[in-house]
């Protein structure tokens, strides 16, 4: 990785209060909004690159918005378009969104220091909230100013609507017609954003996703669909065990096969290049490879879990949270509760298996297509492999068939493979590297396996006096560019988020961490640490409530007196689910609460028990407080999706290591939620004027413990080893 990318990342990842400046200039005959500094505009610099802006209005009336955020299905393109539209007042049918890149000053994630471009941490809307409304308002102000000058009328007599500028006299013209003139207007130093009572699109139900028709008719293009002229397809041969290295390979038999172009070495394995996917897959079987497995992970899941259990029993040396005197509280406890929770490795398994494509152009620029979730990093990684300067790398930001964290790999794995394969072919042809489902399932970057050992000290009145959690698992950030920002005093915050900051007022708390080592690569997986911390904490809190004869809602509320937003979603979910009245016959309810990515979500699951003994989830009532609800229907969509995603994982999904090899290869072994298992989800959004926060991930954490708590209510059994489908739970 180059020094610049490192410098961008080696910093505290925290919200930035840096203000930003908006500039504008003409690009051809279009108005482009969004240069990072006025100096850029004064020097007349980056005008030719249409990606160097927030939005562009062209004489043909089209409005193209350049998104700092990648869209993997979460709808952030729609969200950003909504923010621009609120202030710009364009013709919505002419609005489209494309991915921007190559300008961290412009696109830096304001929730993460502002200096590098990153989609993740459910921060897209928060980072864009002011930025893109301001971009829209700036463009509108310049269009109005251009009209005022042309018509020689005062600014305040001009109105705009749906891309049309009008004057009381009856004069009117369009944004497209004014674009060129507007581009030469001075950029307003500060624009006033609308007050909430004047919003037409933000928090409205009327604006539908602009990409729904494309996606309902098979016309949306993804990386897998690329068929640039002469483009070849490559499949990879990865090490059978993580940490193994390539020794030698023989591709001679494969090269004789029909459609096969070459078999080449890359830093991450062998690439089999052919005219198409089927030809490449068939040829792959004819390649023999020798691996050096001396440094490879060779343990099985059973050995790993035994080690994790021992570490959890012992407790970790790294302290993530320490309040009061936990040891003293346990010494005088009237009752002690203990529970251990175990979580498997999980695959993201996005529907579009991982891919990227690369082409070296005659002018020395390198195009790289893919799901570019960390553009600056991927630009640098591609440049390094290609041996060219970063600014020669043109990223084509594609929409992806899901992601769930998988497209934000700090080592730019698939980018490296695509560029290295194209380079190994002497740049003779554009190449698309396409993983199969099995490659994707066995290719690493998993939600790490974790074990939590929780202990609670209760006094003689049944009050919770102390809580301990010993957390054991691999670090996601360690060894990556994110380590400096995320690992503090031996604690990767991603390992303990959700429990380090537990919302409940408990006088004595100690959270410790043992960070384990393995060659199994791990990564953020939708909702990251809270996928296990919330399950462990919220199951255990429920267990304590029942142990002390208290109602789970009342028990939590008593410890949330200083946490009004937590308490409000908990009460709202309980109320809407009818918590205080009996559940229908043979139905059982469980509740859970989790704050993640600065949003607050509570869920009530209503289940029955099937003849197999497994839970059937019928209904989930979800309450969320995510500040201003920019797109209420998309918030509902993310809650529905997050609930299904989390539910499938806790019920059925796990990856198993057999002497270092991943056993599961496809959706038969690695099962996920299907239509007949999807509960009816009702979403209730708390009305709020607080700045918007995340929705992509926060729907995931509460569903697991809500179902587990309902399962306890129904059966008296606590599910502590996930997923539910494991034999230990039957």
């Amino acid at each position: 990785m180059n020094d610049r990318a490192f410098a961008l990342l080696a910093q505290e990842i925290a919200p930035s209060r840096r203000s930003f400046l908006i500039g504008a200039a003409a690009a051809g005959s279009s108005l482009v909004i969004g240069f990072s500094t006025f100096a850029d505009v004064a020097q007349g610099t980056p005008t030719s690159n249409p990606f160097s802006g927030y939005l562009q209005i062209s004489p043909d009336e089209t409005v193209t918005i350049y998104s700092s955020q990648m869209d993997m299905g979460q709808g952030i393109y729609h969200g950003i378009a909504t923010l621009v539209q609120e202030e710009l007042d364009a013709d919505w049918t002419k609005v489209s969104v494309a991915g921007g890149f190559g300008n961290p000053a412009l696109y830096g994630n304001l929730n993460m220091g502002g200096k590098f471009q990153f989609t993740g941490g459910s921060s897209g809307t928060a980072s864009s909230w002011e930025r893109y409304r301001r971009a829209g308002a700036t463009a509108r102000a310049m269009l109005v100013a251009a009209a005022a000058e042309q018509w020689n009328v005062p600014l305040n007599e001009i109105s705009t609507s749906n891309g049309v500028v009008s004057h009381a006299s009856g004069k009117s013209t369009t944004y497209g017609a004014l674009a060129t003139a507007a581009a030469s207007r001075p950029v307003p130093g500060d624009v006033t954003l609308k007050e909430s009572q004047s919003w037409n699109y933000v928090s409205s139900e009327t604006l539908r996703r602009y990409d729904s028709a494309l996606k309902s008719t098979g016309r949306q293009q993804y990386t897998i669909d690329l068929h640039e002229p002469g483009m070849l397809t490559a499949v990879m041969i990865h090490p059978p065990r993580f940490g193994a290295n390539l020794q030698s390979f023989d591709g001679s038999k494969a090269k004789e096969m029909k459609g096969v172009v070459d078999v080449v070495e890359t830093p991450r394995g062998v690439a089999v290049v052919a005219s198409g996917m089927w030809e490449a897959m068939k040829a792959r079987e004819a390649v023999t490879v020798q691996w050096d497995e001396s440094k490879a992970e060779k343990r099985s899941s059973a050995e790993l879990i035994t080690e994790y259990r021992a570490a959890a029993d012992k407790g970790g040396d790294a302290v993530a949270a320490n309040a009061g005197d936990v040891d003293a509280a346990f010494a005088k406890a009237a009752k002690v509760l203990e529970a251990r929770y175990e979580f498997p490795y999980l695959a993201h398994a996005p529907m579009e298996p991982i891919n990227a494509a690369a082409r070296m152009n005659p002018d020395g620029t390198l195009e790289v297509w893919g799901g570019h979730q960390m553009p600056d990093l991927y630009q640098a990684a591609a440049a390094k492999v290609a041996g060219i300067a970063s600014d020669k790398v043109i990223l084509r930001v594609m929409k992806t068939g899901g992601g769930f964290g998988r497209r934000a790999s700090p080592d730019a794995d698939i980018i490296v493979e695509a560029v290295a394969t194209a380079k190994a072919l002497g740049w003779k042809a554009p190449v698309k590297v396409q993983w199969t489902r099995e490659d994707d399932m066995r290719g690493g970057r998993y939600r790490p396996a974790f074990v939590h050992k929780l202990k609670a000290a209760l006094d003689d009145k049944g009050e919770l006096m102390a809580l301990r959690d010993s957390v054991v698992g691999q670090s996601i950030a360690k060894g990556t560019l994110f380590e400096a920002g995320l690992v503090r005093e031996g604690v990767d915050r991603l390992s303990v988020e959700g429990i380090r900051n537990l919302p409940y007022a408990v006088p004595n708390v100690r959270i410790d961490l043992t960070t384990t080592e393995s060659a199994v690569p791990v990564l953020w997986w939708r909702a990251v640490g809270s996928t296990h911390t919330a399950y462990a904490l919220e199951s255990f809190i429920d267990e304590i409530a029942y142990a002390t004869g208290k109602d789970p809602v009342e028990f939590r509320l008593a410890m949330l007196k200083d946490k009004p937003r937590h308490a409000a979603v908990l009460q709202l979910a309980a109320e809407k689910a009818g918590w205080s009245s009996p559940a229908p016959t043979d139905r059982y309810r469980g509740i859970a609460l989790a704050e993640s990515f600065r949003s607050y979500v509570a869920q009530v699951a209503e289940i029955s028990i099937e003849s197999s003994g497994r839970p059937k989830v019928h209904r989930v009532v979800c309450a969320i407080d995510c500040g201003v609800a920019v797109n209420p229907d998309q918030i509902r969509a993310q809650m529905e999706g997050g609930i299904g995603f989390g539910l499938g994982a806790i019920l059925k999904s796990q990856l198993t290591l057999d002497e270092g090899r991943i056993v599961e290869g496809n959706f038969d072994g690695y099962d996920v939620l299907r239509m007949d298992e999807m509960p009816k989800v009702e979403v209730h959004i708390v009305k709020s004027s607080a700045p918007p926060t995340g929705v992509g991930e926060p729907g995931v954490p509460p569903i697991g413990p809500a179902v587990a708590n309902a399962f306890f209510k129904a059966t008296g059994k606590r599910v502590r080893i996930l997923p539910f489908s494991r034999s230990e739970n039957s």
Binding site: G75, L214, S216, H227, M351, R437
Partner: protein
């Protein structure tokens, strides 16, 4: 090999064992039909063969000789139009990748069952995975499409 593809007669010169999925996607560049698993486990490649939903990844070219194949690009008629317009109206897709297959499966269901129950929807659609978990909206869209069809 001769097939009827999206209403047009087509002569295809390829290995008869080649999966129809890769003939559609790579040879004919009809990329609306998606690859998801290659083993008929996810439904992303759902097409219609002689009007019946089928998985293109597990269908060899030889299997469709002389038969009538319809992909998402060729989906037409009243049921298809209604399904796709309802899908859009309810903002069903998130990432959208599985939706070609979902839409083709739903057209298949509604073509034979104009008023499917929840159980019939479960039966017809549980082979189609959506990792964004848009299942609730898919169900709602099928009910809504049935309503429009019956109107």
């Amino acid at each position: 090999m001769h097939i009827t593809l999206n209403g047009q007669s087509k002569e295809i010169d390829a290995d008869p064992d080649k999966p129809l999925l890769w003939i559609l996607r790579d040879d004919l560049q009809l990329v609306g039909t998606k690859y998801g698993c290659g083993q008929a486990l996810c439904g992303a490649c759902t097409i219609h063969i002689d009007g019946e939903p089928a998985r293109a990844c597990q269908t060899r070219l030889a299997d469709v000789a002389g038969r009538n194949v319809v992909t998402i690009e060729g989906a037409s008629g009243k049921v298809a139009e209604i399904v796709q317009s309802v899908w859009t109206k309810l903002d069903v897709p998130q990432c959208g990748y599985c939706q070609s297959g979902q839409v083709m499966a739903a057209i298949g269901l509604l073509s034979t069952n104009r008023k499917p129950t929840d159980e019939a929807i479960d039966d017809a659609m549980s082979g189609n995975i959506c990792r964004c978990n848009t299942y609730q909206r898919i169900r709602a869209a099928i009910h809504e499409a049935a309503k429009v069809l019956g109107a």
